[in-house]
Symmetry: C2
Subunit: 401 residues, 2 copies
């Protein structure tokens, strides 16, 4: 019989592809790379302030932060982007210095429009710098409390489609608007994402790459349940954080058979974390996969000086090398040390240059990877029921206090 199969059989790659194809109607992020951006670009052009503050937490800020941190060192943006994402009192206190600055513009983002953290921060910011239609833009779902707040206070409002989840929203207005304001070429960003989308659904290069990795991770999830990304450049610092959210919040789910699923993301930065976590990778239990990131060409000219004063150290072989070379050699050495173990799954992703297209590609590639994994696992990658419980308990605790 055509449909007969063992209960433990993992589905075929082609079935997953079809499922993702049919999801494209109901899950919003698939079509984001193909959307018109002129309204966003026109509005962004008219924001004159130089200091841009994004008020938002989790999916509302991690995506734009990943892209900003990736690009900032290489592209010279004329404006700064700051992220107000926590209610930590020590961070809140530092906001006092805003001090009615005329040069600040606030982009307030909350999908549900009533998340406690951004609303508290907004209240606090408004007590320091009065919020008005000239210095504040709002992004939320239609008809949310934040949308109503925008209407009452005549703030410019952009709506986020209901079927685009926070951690899949970076190519929507949530990520594009703040990035466009500071000068990121958002069309190039989308071009990178589109390229991956098309290649994947055409069953081309990215299809093989993504579907094979997803299958490997799912087939071996009982054995390798920790997935490390080991990034050899500080430009990936916030990409790593974005990855942790995408992975943890999308894949930590109860599946349609009632079985708990989940892969644990671990974020490392090289070379620092060689002196922290590498020992556990090399000699510890074999429950980890490793993906190494490196940057091939960093526009950078700093070199290790050659000075005979330091001949005492057995390290003259690093003299006159660029620090970029040195960090890439360290990435390669870690890769080699891991491969020598023979039983640690490890791959390496090299980004040729730092630009919008490459980070667009990388982010969309990971989003598709997560969609494919969750399809294999038969879970819903796009909700987060476990977080809602904490939110409810918090409200109850505060109301009862």
């Amino acid at each position: 019989m055509k449909y007969e199969r063992n209960f433990y059989q993992i589905r075929q790659n082609k079935e997953i592809l079809e499922e993702l194809r049919s999801e494209s109607d109901s899950i919003g992020y698939y079509s984001l790379p193909f959307k018109e951006t002129s309204e966003i670009k026109n509005y962004a052009k008219n924001v004159k302030q130089k200091q841009i503050y994004l008020i938002g937490i989790g999916g509302s800020s991690l995506g734009s932060r990943a892209i900003y941190t990736f690009l900032r060192s290489s592209l010279n943006f004329k404006k700064n982007l700051y992220f107000l994402d926590t209610i930590d009192p020590l961070k809140i206190n530092s906001l006092i210095k805003l001090n009615n600055s005329i040069d600040a513009h606030f982009v307030v983002i909350s999908k549900s429009g009533d998340t406690i953290e951004p609303i508290s921060i907004l209240k606090y910011v408004d007590s320091v710098v009065s919020i008005n239609h000239l210095n504040c833009t709002v992004i939320s779902e239609e008809d949310s409390p934040l949308h109503r707040f925008a209407k009452v206070n005549s703030l410019r409002f952009f709506s986020l489609e209901k079927n685009v989840g926070g951690r899949f929203s970076v190519f929507s207005v949530v990520g594009l608007l703040p990035l466009a304001i500071i000068g990121v070429d958002i069309d190039k960003l989308l071009l990178g994402a589109k390229e991956v989308h098309e290649s994947f659904f055409r069953e081309d290069y990215y299809y093989d790459l993504i579907i094979n990795k997803a299958r490997f991770l799912v087939e071996n999830k009982g054995r390798f349940n920790n997935n490390i990304i080991f990034s050899y450049s500080s430009v990936f610092k916030d990409f790593n954080k974005w990855y942790v959210q995408l992975w943890a919040e999308s894949l930590g789910k109860i599946n349609k058979n009632g079985t708990r699923q989940g892969l644990t993301p671990i974020s490392l930065l090289g070379p620092d974390d060689q002196h922290s976590f590498l020992q556990l990778i090399i000699d510890g239990v074999r429950d980890k996969t490793v993906t190494i990131f490196k940057i091939e060409n960093l526009r950078d000219s700093s070199r290790v000086p050659d000075n005979s004063k330091f001949d005492i150290f057995d390290s003259n072989f690093i003299n006159n090398r660029s620090f970029n070379d040195l960090i890439n050699f360290q990435a390669d050495a870690t890769y080699k040390a891991i491969l020598e173990q023979k039983d640690i799954p490890c791959d390496i992703i090299t980004i040729s240059t730092i630009d919008e297209k490459n980070i667009g590609r990388l982010i969309y590639r990971f989003q598709l990877l997560v969609s494919a994994i969750s399809s294999f696992m038969q879970i819903n990658a796009y909700d987060q029921p476990g977080v809602e419980l904490g939110k409810k308990i918090l409200r109850d605790l505060l109301k009862d206090d």
Copy 2:
């Protein structure tokens, strides 16, 4: 027969205690809280510069960094401490601004005295600010290349005992000297550590706490192999990093029966990571333990403003609350949400106030916990053979290039 037992039987708590007691002769960190500090304090007093740069990576910097970040917001230090720990070109470039500053003092730390990263950074720093006996202090093992460098250049040298490993060195001159220079009361710090040491070996409060937790983690290591610390205050940011190194590098080992051991440390900061990782804790596979950290009394007065302009949001119940209260309510809500799951091991550590004694206690408590776990696991917590392999490969790659 007295010694007869099943091969799978985990050793008795008292055996572990005796092993740790007898280790105290050969493993240096046990006696650090009892050492004389006047030489360090006298030298520190005479460092006149206000900008202190610690050049060191891994265990040479993570400990003092954890303590500095913990104390900085509450104690008003007159000096700043910066950590030059990476050869990332983007970070190296920012050093150019040092620009022969007369107000900078460099503390160079490397246990082996020839670690590639700090030596490269030192070379670079020396090309910008010339290093001399007035602006540079050196810490290393005796007779290392760095010690010889100090002698040749007449730099003040402090020696680190050979039997004190990097991640156990924060209460030695490695941590105490830079902290004393910026004004930390290092005697209070040691007092906290000493208190835990004495309580533990007297089989008092800390003995029960530590030995029971160690036993639980080892007995359940096959099931709960990921150990999260979820810290609800940014003062713990670098303590979290210190914990990751301590845990990963001490416990990721092949034990005396040739079996791979290891527990995986995961570092989270609340409330931000509620919007990132909490979903995986609540609905994902049950392979995690959680330890929540909070601060009871933070000297802080910022409050959520009460302004009718924001009545549109269903959150008036947070008005007039301090942000410190709010973050602690979030910690409690997360704790409750996890407890409701009934099968996630979770504990909560509340620090009463931010001071030297409390961070001394906390750090020493975790060091003893790791010693106890590794004794149960029959591994050596104090070496890191897996890291040496990467270092060797790096040297080979660079020399052959």
